[in-house]
Symmetry: C2
Amino acid sequence: MSSSGTVRSYDAVVVGAGIVGLACAWRAAQRGLSVLCVDGATPGGGASGAAAGMLAPVTEADFGEEALLGLNLEAAAAWPAFRDELEEAGGIDIGHRASGALEVAADRDDLEELRRRLAFRRSLDLDAEWLTGRECRRLEPGLSPRISAGIEAPGDGHVNPRAVVAALRRAFERSGGELVTGVRATVLVRDDRVQGVDIEGRDRVAAPALVAAAGAQTRALPGLDADALPPVRPVKGQILRLRVRPGASLPAARVIRSPRCYVVSRDDGEVVVGATVEERGYDTSVTGGATHDLLRAALELVPDMRELTLVETSAGLRPGTPDNAPVIGTSEVESVVLATGHYRNGILLAPITADSVVELVATGRAPDAIAAFSPRRFDRSERVAS
Amino acid sequence: MSSSGTVRSYDAVVVGAGIVGLACAWRAAQRGLSVLCVDGATPGGGASGAAAGMLAPVTEADFGEEALLGLNLEAAAAWPAFRDELEEAGGIDIGHRASGALEVAADRDDLEELRRRLAFRRSLDLDAEWLTGRECRRLEPGLSPRISAGIEAPGDGHVNPRAVVAALRRAFERSGGELVTGVRATVLVRDDRVQGVDIEGRDRVAAPALVAAAGAQTRALPGLDADALPPVRPVKGQILRLRVRPGASLPAARVIRSPRCYVVSRDDGEVVVGATVEERGYDTSVTGGATHDLLRAALELVPDMRELTLVETSAGLRPGTPDNAPVIGTSEVESVVLATGHYRNGILLAPITADSVVELVATGRAPDAIAAFSPRRFDRSERVAS
């Protein structure tokens, strides 16, 4: 037997110390619950640490995802207050910038795509104004002369996800929460009800509620029946981190996007170029092809990025779902609440997810915000097929 | 005073534990000299550790460098015996492969350049046969359909420079030599004659002979008068290391070259893509632009390299000289022998350099092989101007 046999009790266990898990754990601890957060790796060691940190409900909006757009807009509106509270509680600047974003066209195909996106935005009653190439360069002088048009999304912005993870961790621990990382936890279920977790080589933990926030690893959590969980799958994203030289200016003030990449410029000099979207199972290797394509796509937007220092190449696994929307709500196992499937919007959705999950754990009622994102929206055939 | 005051004596001190310095140190120790080798950083931490390790007298041959070609060919001929002796003495497989090399053309400009290179080779009485694109792909099936022609250099090959450094280090120490790294050494000169070195925080070392083999750092060695040294300057090279997935085949059997890159495939699965040639002083940053250009150039040759894992990006500083040839011989300070300026051929030239340097240190006579590469071939104005 792997555990020492002692039993400790908590009001809730959160499995996963990424941005979603830590936000849930912090909010639960703030509400007065005794909370254990456990992760097999390091805090933010999965998708959260790889992510660029865009808060981009508008530029991430896509055809056919109108319900998700509503959640994303609500989540974005909640971020400034969340930031203030988190920076106060965690004592760390999380690099939040309401920078705005600029979607641009670098060739004829892009131009056609941009026109479609303009029409799509207007159909959703989102403000959108067509900018000429010259107008784009007036906003962002670093843009290539090849850029022929653009659409601004003034409300989009970004945070530094690694700083968010660090702040959440401190805020959670300062609220009395306990974090255990680098150990394997097995969920204990009896009669379709969660009993707690068994932490390898340590205590057995009893808890009447468990939040499964392990991102793309959620269906692989030991002790849970994968076939009874919604079809969350890993979607690989490769991403580059570059840095401006001391004294040099950032490539752009706004987030810059084309159909092939986005460029996020942080005030501390970090410039993030992302991201591939690949169906490769649990593979997290960085490839020559993806690194080439991302660099080419970025240099096509801002040629002066050639001179930036390339400091990191990495890959993360987004938790994807069939409808690209998150899975937030009680699973088939009573008292196991799922908080996963956030796909490309994990950073944006973490605060609203945490508020909803904690409300659900504390009261047993799912708030309206997440009604459309219940795990029960997928039928079993979809689960097994995935 | 930084040294402890004690004086130890050696027959010779070698400053620099790159491939040239370690080869000189090993050869001197083999000859029965007591030798101290000292380096401010780690063994192979400079250009040797960044290098691809090509032994390519023919494909590196360039217009106007005929004297260098002679030395390079002689050096290449000496490598197999050196390899046998080093692997025996060091107990490490250094990955030597007489793979041959294939210079190819991917576009019209390349084709013209390749024709010039064919004529150049023939003018030097080097064998060279024109291959069609189809013939190239018969030799190397991974080559892109865009490759329209090629010239083979069957005698070119490569070693793994990091393995060579490791083997040299062990061979040197097994021969009784002493290696001290990570400390600053100041050359002690009195009356234009070397006295030894002062090692920061350690003993003062007395030695009647000193070999300066610090590559691009040679003119910056504390205690030497830079103005009295030949015009060796840093020439930055950025280089990528990729890896084939387990079970997958190598991109090519031979070294593949275009005017924009070379690709070296090792039996252990490492694939090296190099290298930029940049005049940037002592800057060793890895840039987005160079990484992009090298990947693009490699994918243009072997499209399947997209799937390779990108494991390392790095930059080294080659010791460049006005005529691209090395500087091997006694400096203006008596008993200071220079072994630097190897530019793009440091790995290839290390064994012949070591043999020549040790001959010079032991007998006072410079062997014929290095007569054309004396430090005295540059006049003082060139030294100061550089």
